[in-house]
Assembly symmetry: C2
Homo-oligomer: 363 residues x 2
């Protein structure tokens, strides 16, 4: 039915579709819906604590016996840089004043948990079929423990060099994340955003460079994208933004409104929300302090000083200081449940494959 069975066979799924692990919007209900519809559901664990991860995995396990993916960030937590933090606070000071906040108020420490011994122990306990990482791979000892559970290991590459590195370090498949993708870039060997590569150019070059199957990500929102990714040499696709339009996505009302608006067509890579480049819909803080700023503290610290601005402006009905993650093909999305979306994408992609086939036969 699908022209390439490598990813369905490797991951034990029906369709070569992975629901992307978007930290923040995705919880167990979306994972279950994607799994039950034949895709690989992915539970993001970077922004929830161990007890919540435990609870979410438990809910998934109760609802489905299908394979799912548990995703972790594996960045190195940064040293606190007081000078850089001060520059960032100074850069944001006028916004604090404008919003009636004390520019010298204490701000929360923005946190994203990197994969560590405790999280690895959770993987060993729950033994998910698939474990994926973002920002490279964890240290060798941890990765070996994950692989010893029998999990298939995935991670994202934004360049050919990163793809080769991931294969060499034990990934069972590589996600080729084109520049169109919403949310955080997975880059880990390069930090130059000027040379990041579009999905169309990245996927075939990665497919040529590695032996493991390639999963295309970035700009894939409808059946046309799925078929195009397969044509480029991908064995499967990872889809994020399209799932933000499902009711299962836990996003702020203002984020959802921006996704529904014409503004969703204008996105950029920005580091102002977290310190690492991520793609979102252009808004005020991106335009005025970025979209890429040398003043933003290292990931994930930049978000701390943004938090009070977001809270105050969101209350006033403005999305000017919140991350509005979205990929470049957001406007191709349709609003439906995550299970229906998954089934629709799979059915339409198969029909489109048949259509190309039919056109070929008629020619």
């Amino acid at each position: 039915m699908w022209p390439d069975r490598r990813i369905p066979d490797l991951l034990g799924i029906e369709h070569p579709i992975i629901q992307a692990p978007m930290a923040g919007p995705v919880f167990s209900d979306m994972v279950i819906a994607a799994c039950e519809a034949g895709a690989l559901g992915s539970l993001p664990c970077a922004t929830i604590d161990e007890s919540r991860i435990r609870a979410e995995i438990g809910i998934v396990r109760q609802a489905t016996d299908r394979p799912f993916n548990v995703n972790f960030f594996c960045h190195t937590p940064p040293a606190f840089d007081a000078a850089r933090e001060a520059r960032w606070r100074e850069r944001l000071r006028p916004y604090y004043v404008e919003l009636g906040l004390d520019p010298d108020m204490d701000v929360p420490v923005s946190n994203r948990t990197p994969f560590d011994d405790a999280l690895c122990a959770l993987v060993e306990e729950f033994r998910p079929k698939v474990v994926s990482f973002h920002f490279g791979l964890p240290e060798t000892a941890l990765l070996e423990r994950v692989k010893a559970t029998g999990a298939a290991v995935l991670s994202s590459a934004t360049t050919v060099e990163e793809a080769v590195w991931l294969e060499d370090h034990g990934c069972d498949a590589v996600i080729a994340q084109g520049a169109e993708a919403g949310g955080h870039r997975g880059n880990f060997l390069t930090h130059d955003m000027a040379t990041q590569i579009g999905t169309f150019a990245l996927v075939p070059q990665v497919a040529d460079a590695v032996k493991v199957p390639v999963i295309a990500a970035g700009g894939i929102t409808d059946a046309r994208g799925i078929v195009a990714a397969l044509a480029l040499g991908a064995a499967a696709v990872q889809i994020g933004t399209a799932y933000l339009y499902t009711p299962e996505a836990r996003i702020a009302a203002l984020h959802r409104a921006a996704l529904r608006s014409g503004r969703a067509g204008e996105t950029a890579l920005t580091n102002v929300f977290t310190g690492r480049p991520a793609r979102g819909i252009l808004n005020r803080v991106m335009r005025e302090t970025g979209p890429l700023s040398d003043d933003a503290p290292a990931f994930p610290l930049a978000g701390g000083a943004l938090a009070p601005l977001r809270a105050a402006s969101e209350k006033a009905g403005s999305d000017g200081f919140m991350s509005l993650w979205a990929g470049q093909a957001a406007r191709l999305s349709r609003e439906m449940g995550a299970a229906e979306l998954t089934r629709t994408l799979a059915a339409e992609a198969m029909a489109r494959l048949a259509g190309l086939a039919g056109a070929r036969r008629d020619g």
Copy 2:
């Protein structure tokens, strides 16, 4: 044979492939080779004078009776800005000193001829089957004269909004130029490079937004790209970089060497060579003064002060100051003649379509 006949029928060609009009590298021999192999050959006229255009068209007409495309830039020539020019000379001064040149020497005025009355008269005289423009469209009176010749008119869009504008202003087909493309961006309604869109996301959105057929450009170098572009909703493809690897491409030896090297995988958009953003292989002047610089004079003036640096460094064996135009999929290119390349791409794309079809039937 091809699933979508709109562009072959509109332009009178066999394969839905357009050899891109790359000003500088492309002359009549490449145009003839592409045409004779069943694609649309394109003669770029922006950097040659009227007598040379006349001669090149004459050679094409002698060699083939197949349709071809004549391409023009339609930018508005900038007013000379003495202050900006001075800033640019100052910015480049250390390089002049390093290369033993007088930093205050006279420099050539970089020139690109925009489409005007005289060039329009040439179109009326030669009546090419296809006329394409870059940077929007010429003023209405000129465009109407072109259309009155019966020529099909094409131009490039880098956003959905530009595509709609081009359709509304009379284009018979729209080239959706994704951010992966080598050479100059065709942008004309937006000048924000942070929001430029990858081919994968741009093509389906443009296909949804316009009624005229869409020609995909950017990152299309092999059969996988051609089939993927068709899957995304394009009726045809425009291919540039792959033709730079043919012996017909008139490029500097150092440019060819860079294309053949691993460096071809690392490109960026830069305005330092001409004043408008264009994609090329990263080199010294891009890294050190850009890749995008507010100091670069408006198109095409930035190139003037670069010319002596290029000449002196090229003589010394360095490509550090020359434009090394290339798209993001350059490394997928193969070296063969332009006719063989055209036939190979067409045959391989048809085989790949059949392969997807076969996989579908076997499923």
